[in-house]
Each structure stands twice: as C-alpha cells, then as structure tokens.
C-alpha cells in the first residue's frame, strides 16, 4: 500500500468518524439539536447536487435537478400514501423513476450543449411543477400531506431499520440515514470519476467529437450519466418528502434547481467533493447568518461574491487538501 493510499484511507476514516460520531457527539454536548436538521438537509441537498456535478462532468450545465427531486418526492409520497408501500422500498423506486424520466427526456435534449441544454433543463423544472399542479395523481395544488414516518424495514424478521415513529429521536435517525445516503452517493461518484468511466466522461466534456471518433458511444454514456444524476436527485427529493411528511408542487422549484447548480460551482467543478462542500457552505452559511436579521441576504451575497472573486474555480481550488480530494 502506497503512502497516498494510506493517507486516503485515513482521510476517509476521519470523515466517517466525524460525520457519524463526532458531530452527533458535539451536538449532544453543546445542545444544538437544531443542527441535526440543517446537517440532514445539507447531506440530502449534497446528494442532489452531486447529480448536477455529474452532468457538469460530461460538460452539461444542469439547471433541472429540482424537477427530478420533485418527481422523486412525489413518487415516494404516492407509493407510501396510496399504495401503502414501505418508504424504504419507495426510496429506490423514486430514484429509479426519476432516472427513467431522465432517460426519456435525455435522449432528445442531451444532444444540446452549453446554455441551450441549461435552458431546457431550467424549463423542465417549471414543467414538472406545473404538471404536479395539473395531474390528478399528485393531488394538485393541495399537495400530499400527512405522509407517515418511515416504517420498519426488516428482512427475515431481522430489523434493519426501526420504525421511525417509534424511536425516541427521529431527527437523529434521519440524520444518520441522510449521511449514509450521502456517503454511498459520494463513494459511487468517487468510483465513477476514478475509474475508466470517469476518463470517458472527461473525454466527452473536453471534446465530444474526438471522443466519438475514437469510438466512445457518447450518446449512450451521457444518457447513463444523466440517469444516474437524476437518480440522485430523485432519492434526495424523496427523503426530503419523508422528513417534511408533505409534498407540494412548490416543494422544489426553479430556485432549488439553481441552488443545486451553484453548490457545484462554489465547491469547484473539478473536484468530486466540491458539491458537498459547496452545499455545506451555501446552505449552512445562510442559517449561520440568521442573527443578522434583515441584513442576512446582503451579507450572504457579499460573502458569496467575495469568495468567487478570490476563488473563481471553487472553494476546493485552495490546495490545502490534496490529501482528501483527488484533483481532477
């Protein structure tokens, strides 16, 4: 094992320990219970942002992740409330459904690049919201409310996940679930980026024509990547629906789509863990500035602009972290 590998494993261990042990410990000691929800949100939003990052990775600006998050939230909510399916089964179905929609939409629109793709995805967010308002199965404007908390998941009588409504602290349970999702999602991303798959994606991002002429099936690859991206969006959205126990057509709107994209930019498009850090800073930053009252938005935007001026290639372009983040 090389030194580099050893460092990586150490960094991973440190990350896992801080997410699953240190942060809960600090929260318990300091009594800031409300950070659980904020961090849960960060974890889930960073899963959706990871999807956007993946589409950036194949050279597409994706401002449509809100649409897939909303689709995911509705699929899960409908399955749980109308079909009585366990949330834990509905979660992957929500992701898969979002992925399927992505394949259908992606086939025609992934041919586009640059702002053209960006605009279509932006319109897509609005289309899904309007469809949610118009379709009967989504219960229209009234939304789906009073969704039960996730129930028990057991296989052969062995309880894998306890019933959330029965446990003492569902906040903590949601936090652990969200973090587990996040870790799984970023592990998958890391693997994609550092395998040949990642090289193929980068070849597409940098020169689609050349990639095509050396035999890369870019049409197939980009649909697959877009589907994975939307899968992340769907899962993130479904989980949010479970926490809020309600879904409305306006649960994820254009602003969310834009936020997902901004998370990626802020963290750095060249770094796998960019969207995670970007989400943390953008989302958590807003909460921290809560004390500023009416100047909250002013200070928030000024800080944001300053960060962009100093680090136009994202937060992670500060090289203090070669150990943790593989530079692409």
């Amino acid at each position: 094992m090389s030194l580099k590998d050893a460092r990586r494993i150490l960094a991973l261990a440190a990350f896992l320990i801080s997410v699953f042990w240190l942060i809960p410990y600090l929260i318990a000691v300091s009594g800031y219970w409300n950070f659980y929800f904020t961090l849960t949100s960060v974890a889930l939003l960073s899963v959706a942002s990871a999807g956007v990052w993946l589409t950036f990775y194949i050279g597409r600006i994706n401002i449509g992740q809100g649409a897939f998050a909303l689709i995911g939230a509705y699929v899960s909510a409908i399955l749980v409330t109308k079909a009585g399916i366990s949330f834990w089964i509905s979660l992957p179905i929500a992701g898969l459904f979002a992925g399927m929609v992505a394949v259908l939409i992606g086939l025609p629109i992934l041919r586009l690049r640059g702002v053209y793709f960006a605009m279509i995805t932006l319109v897509l967010t609005e289309v899904v919201r309007l469809a949610a308002l118009a379709l009967p199965i989504t219960n229209g404007a009234k939304g789906i409310v009073s969704i039960p908390l996730p129930s028990e998941l057991s296989i052969f009588g062995i309880v894998l996940i306890p019933d959330f409504s029965a446990i003492e602290n569902p906040k903590l349970a949601f936090y652990y679930t969200a973090c587990a999702l996040m870790v799984a999602c970023y592990a998958a991303m890391y693997r994609i980026v550092n395998s040949r798959l990642g090289q193929l994606c980068r070849s597409m991002q940098q020169n689609e024509e050349l990639a095509l002429s050396v035999g890369v099936n870019i049409a197939y690859l980009r649909v697959i990547i877009f589907a994975i991206s939307s899968f992340f969006g769907g899962v993130g959205g479904a989980m949010f629906g479970a926490i809020a126990q309600s879904v409305y057509p306006s649960s994820f709107v254009v602003k969310d789509s834009i936020d997902f994209m901004l998370n990626c930019f802020l963290g750095g498009l060249g770094y796998v863990f960019g969207p995670m850090l970007g989400t943390l800073v953008l989302y958590f930053g807003w909460d921290l500035l809560f004390e500023l009252g009416k100047y909250q938005l002013l200070i928030y935007s000024c800080v944001l602009i300053l960060v962009i001026l100093v680090l136009p290639n994202g937060l992670l372009s500060v090289r203090l972290s070669r150990i943790l983040w593989a530079r692409q």
């Binding site: 960094a11 440190a14 990350f15 801080s18 240190l22 942060i23 600090l26 300091s30 800031y32 219970w33 409300n34 659980y36 929800f37 904020t38 949100s41 939003l45 309007l130 308002l133 229209g140 404007a141 009234k142 939304g143 409310v145 009073s146 908390l149 569902p170 906040k171 949010f240 926490i243 809020a244 126990q245 309600s246 409305y248 057509p249 306006s250 649960s251 602003k255 969310d256 850090l277 943390l280 800073v281 958590f284 807003w286 909460d287 921290l288 809560f290 004390e291 009252g293 009416k294 909250q296 938005l297 972290s321 943790l324």
Partner: protein
C-alpha cells in the same frame, strides 16, 4: 477536516451572538416569541408585514415595562427566521425556534411551509400560527397549529352572501395564480359560491405568478361578463394590475378578493380604477378601530416609515399568545396547558371599538378550536382609502 472547523467556528459564532443577545435585555425576564416566514423575495410583503407588526407590538410592550403573565413582567423578544418561502428552510427555522426554547411561533405564510413544519412543531412542543388554509393542519389529530386569520372558505361565503343580497350578484368568475395556495383558495371559493346558488361562468383561468401584464389573461374572463370577479388568493403585488387590466378591458361588475390588501399599493397601482374593490381587512378603518389600533398604526409607521394594511390582521397572533399565557401562565413552558386554556379563553379585543372579544374558534370548520377569532372585516376601497362594508365573526 474543513467541515469540522467550519462547524466549530459556527458554534462559536452562534454562542457569542446569543450571549450578547441576552445581555441587552436585563431587567425583566425575557419571553421569546418566534416568527418563521418569508421576508425576502417575491412574497416578502406577507412575512414582513407579519414580522413588523410583531416587532412594533413587542417594542411597545417593552417600552411600557413589559407584559404581565402570572406575577411576572416579561419583556418580549421577537426571533424571526426568513424561510425564503422554501419548505426546507421553514423546517430549519422551526428547528431553530425549538433550539431557542421557543414554544410559540407565528407563521409560516404559505401552505407547503406550514405543512412541512408540522412534524417538527409537534415533536418539539411548539404551537404555531400559520397563515395557510389547509384544513388538515387544524383538524385532529393535528393539534399544534392555530389558523392566524380568517380562511377564505369562511370569509368567501360571507362576502358572496352580502353581495347576492345587497347587489343582486348572480354570476361569478374566478381567477387565480397557478400556485398551490391561490388554487386551493379558488377551489374552496368556487364551492362556497356554488353552494350559495351563484353561477360560475369562468373558473379555470389561471396566471403565472410572475405575470406583469394581465390583459391577455383577463380577456377571456371578461368576455364571460360576470357580475362578480373574484381574485382568489391574490397577492398585494398583483391585485392592482389585475383590477386595472379588468377595468381597462371595460369590465363594470364587482371585483373582490378574500385576502388582505394594502391601500397605498392599490392607490399607486390602480388609482381610481380600484374604487369599489372589495377585500378582507383588519380593523384599522375609522369606523371600528380602537385607540389602541390607532396607536399601533402610528408606532408601526414611526418604526418602519410606512404602514402596511396587511398588518391589520397580523397584529392579532402575538396578542392572542400573550393574552392566553396571561390567562394561564403555566402555558409558558407547556403547550398542553395552553391548549387546555384555548377552549375557554376569552378576553376583550383591544384593537376594536365595541365589545368584541378575543377567543379561539374553528369548531365548525375544524372540529376543534384552532383558529383565532379575528374580526372578519370586509372593506371596500374608495378614493384611496378602505371603508368598512361589513363586520362579521367566524365560529
């Protein structure tokens, strides 16, 4: 590594600011009341009128030495959280309120926010006072939400009935923004109108929230030539444009809405064209405003430069919370005590002339008392001012 350092810096910053916060008010014990709502972006007016009316009232109370609950005088502090009209943020806001040990929170302002905070509020023992109408929030088994205003399915029938009797209205048309809250309000308004025997000649036309020119939207509606045009759930920003476009298209019937509006905005945006426009308001019209209401308006204007008539209805939530706590001081830390008091609570309404009372209502709509009895004041706009058309009460 990075994440951890940000986290600890954050905790430090928060601790520091909280320490400062508690130093400022030292004389009386502090009672914190929360506000979670939208104070930035397109719908900012809703939340800001809410927040400002609470801050005005709190400053006023503190100036005169505090609010007496039990044997203690409390200073009131308003803790506000801007949810940006995003249900995810609203949950974070409610968590923050729980963190601050707050048990009474005004808001959120929209349906999806109110629905989203419900799990947190119930788990953390928070009573919240949304300005959102979904009945599920107020009907058992839900018990922590209290509707902060008159719902449109309550005010609508009162207005329609009045217009049928007094103005001979027979046909009605609805127009709403293509968004959850206005659409729900349109649907319930439509049901109410039909129950009263009105014929709905147009109820399907909607507009995008970001519409700035309503002529194309209204053209087909006006063609149906209704006696009454209802602007369901219209935001104060859109109301003057809608009125203006309708009048310019030659519409001569009545126009009404079941949401609160601001006279200044109507005056600027539609001028004389808004004459005769019927909306729901609070109690600031001269006919019914008490001295206390007038002083409230004066103080609000002092503090923030300009009054917003939407605050007429929004002044009540804070007053109700404090008065109910005064009636049963045990409620300060225990919302179950508060809930028990709600069923019997009654106090004079300081903002209205006459013998109006503050009490909790809602049994006929929700099966339990989970609504503030805010006077249902129906105003008509005339030459730049609101005049009271009728006053009613909801049960």
């Amino acid at each position: 590594m990075n994440r951890r350092s940000i986290f600890s810096a954050a905790s430090a910053a928060l601790l520091l600011s909280m320490a400062q916060g508690s130093v400022v008010f030292a004389e009386n014990p502090l009672l914190k009341i929360g506000f979670v709502g939208v104070t930035s972006g397109p719908a900012a007016a809703w939340g800001i009128s809410n927040q400002r009316s609470m801050e005005t009232r709190a400053a006023w109370i503190n100036e005169i030495g505090g609010y007496k609950i039990g044997h203690v005088m409390y200073d009131i502090e308003i803790v506000s959280f801007d949810d940006q009209k995003d249900p995810k943020r609203a949950i974070a806001g409610m968590e923050k309120m729980a963190q601050e040990g707050i048990h009474y929170v005004v808001g959120p302002n929209v349906d999806n926010g109110a629905a989203a905070v419900r799990p947190v509020a119930e788990a953390s023992g928070i009573m919240y006072f949304p300005y959102a109408f979904p009945k599920e929030l107020y009907t058992a088994p839900a018990s922590n939400a209290v509707l902060g205003m008159v719902a449109n399915y309550q005010s609508g029938p009162a207005i329609y009935k009045y217009l049928i009797d007094e103005k001979g209205v027979k046909t009605v048309a609805f127009i709403a923004a293509n968004e959850s809250d206005p659409l729900s309000q349109r649907d319930s308004g439509l049901a109410a109108a039909e129950a009263l025997g009105l014929e709905a000649v147009s109820a399907n036309v909607t507009y995008q929230v970001d519409t700035t020119d309503f002529t194309p939207v209204l053209t087909p509606v006006i063609r149906t030539n209704p006696d009454l045009l209802v602007l369901s759930g219209v935001s104060p920003a859109n109301a003057p444009q809608l009125i203006r476009s309708a009048r310019e298209l030659g519409f001569e019937g009545l126009i009404s809405t079941e949401t609160a509006q601001d006279a200044q905005v109507l005056r600027e945006g539609a001028g004389d064209l808004a004459n005769g426009f019927i909306s729901v308001g609070g109690a600031s019209t001269p006919e019914i405003a008490s001295d206390m209401m007038n002083e409230f308006v004066a103080r609000y204007t002092d503090m923030f430069g300009e009054y917003n008539d939407e605050s007429n209805t929004k002044v009540y939530a804070l007053e109700y919370i404090l008065a109910t706590l005064a009636a049963n001081p045990a409620g300060i830390d225990d919302v179950e005590e508060f809930k028990m008091t709600m069923d019997t609570f009654e106090a004079p309404n300081p903002y209205m002339k006459g013998d109006a009372v503050l009490r909790y209502v809602g049994t006929s709509s929700f099966g339990q008392r989970r609504q503030l009895s805010v006077p249902l004041v129906v105003n008509v706009f005339n030459n730049g001012e609101f005049e009271t058309l009728l006053v009613a009460e909801v049960d």
